[in-house]
């Protein structure tokens, strides 16, 4: 995104003009733009600059690009857009972006699984042997995390 942008409009959402009493209202996010590119989104924990509200303004530095983080970043954007769409089902711009990421996810996922092992059951279809139980499992410490 353009960091020099002086228009901070994306930080604000819309509230009802006349809100009945005795109810809590959160402003509606109006759009999926602006949004971070996928690796920055994963590193910061949100796709949306307007929702990026870190403690003491300390932000994570960007994750290193490797096949694993590349896959995680694309999966993350798809999941983030899914939550947005759950409350904005008629937002066609968001839906188009979601579908773009789903296509990208499919491509990156099958490339990753071919090289480093299965992520899910369907990845076993193209495997040469039953490698699902193979280490590493995701929670184990791996000094080299290129895979």
């Amino acid at each position: 995104m353009d960091r020099n942008k002086t228009d901070n409009g994306y930080r604000f959402g819309s509230l009802p003009k006349n809100a009945p009493l005795a109810m809590a209202y959160v402003p509606l996010q109006e759009s999926v733009s602006p949004s971070y590119e996928s690796m920055e989104a994963l590193s910061r924990g949100t796709l949306f600059p307007g929702l990026d509200l870190p403690l003491m303004n300390i932000v994570n530095s960007e994750l290193k690009m490797c096949p694993l983080t590349e896959m995680m970043a694309i999966d993350f954007v798809a999941d983030e857009l899914e939550l947005y769409l759950d409350t904005h089902k008629d937002d066609s711009e968001a839906f188009a972006m979601y579908q773009t990421f789903l296509a990208l996810k499919k491509e990156v996922r099958s490339r990753y699984a071919m090289q480093f092992g299965p992520i899910s059951q369907e990845d076993m279809l193209g495997a040469k042997r039953y490698c699902w139980p193979d280490d590493p499992w995701p929670w184990d410490y791996q000094p080299k995390m290129e895979v």
Binding site: R44, D52, P54, L68, E80, L83, T87, G117, S120, P138
Partner: protein, 198 residues
């Protein structure tokens, strides 16, 4: 049904084991505002939710929280690897160790085991969504507090990520409440509970 994906949502790679940190980070595994309670709260509330968007939102956020439970488990597991009895004593980890060794058990930092009493399912659209808004704030504060206590950058990157997810979920639950209100009687939102009254 649920299907496992053999990957984390965000990488967890803790270079330096440190059981002293695991002692309080475990609270986000099984504490009152932790990820286990979060996932069960949303995945249980969805049955009585009458609106499709809200069923989707509770399912999707509840599922993501299960992924966060796995990330906290990974942090605790990696912080407690290769411990010696001396390190355990020095870190004050012996009260956990004596009961669980280096296993990951859903407990609060205080030692209180995970309890369904720390979450709620009221079966009422407005009450449950307000509960969820509060729950996301409480989880956010717990992550704030962890960041105030931890000086390990490998841990803090993951905690900052998880904290930010709470902010995003708060926004979505707030929007979910707005979507629910659009379908309710704006002259009196409390006239009926659409999850029960027909």
């Amino acid at each position: 049904m649920f299907v496992y994906e053999k990957k984390l949502q965000y990488p967890v790679k803790i270079k330096n084991p440190n059981p002293a940190l695991a002692k309080f980070i475990i609270s986000q595994y099984g504490g009152p505002d932790g990820e286990l309670g979060a996932s069960l709260r949303y995945l249980s509330q969805r049955y009585s939710m009458p609106y499709p968007e809200l069923k989707a939102l509770l399912t999707d956020i509840g599922t993501e929280e299960l992924g966060h439970l796995e990330m906290i488990g990974a942090i605790v597991h990696q912080l407690t690897r290769n411990m010696t009895p001396e390190e355990i004593k020095k870190a004050g980890f012996e009260t956990y160790f004596v009961d669980r060794t280096a296993g990951v058990y859903p407990t609060a930092a205080s030692g209180f085991p995970w309890s369904a009493a720390s979450m709620a399912v009221k079966g009422d659209v407005i009450a449950d969504l307000n509960e969820d808004l509060a729950a996301e704030q409480k989880a956010r504060v717990t992550y704030d507090n962890i960041l105030r206590l931890s000086d390990d950058p490998d841990v803090n990157n993951v905690i900052r990520y998880l904290r930010e997810r709470e902010v995003v979920h708060y926004q979505r639950f707030g929007e979910g409440l707005r979507r629910a209100l659009e379908k309710m009687d704006e002259k009196n939102f409390y006239a009926v509970n659409p999850a029960f009254d027909k």
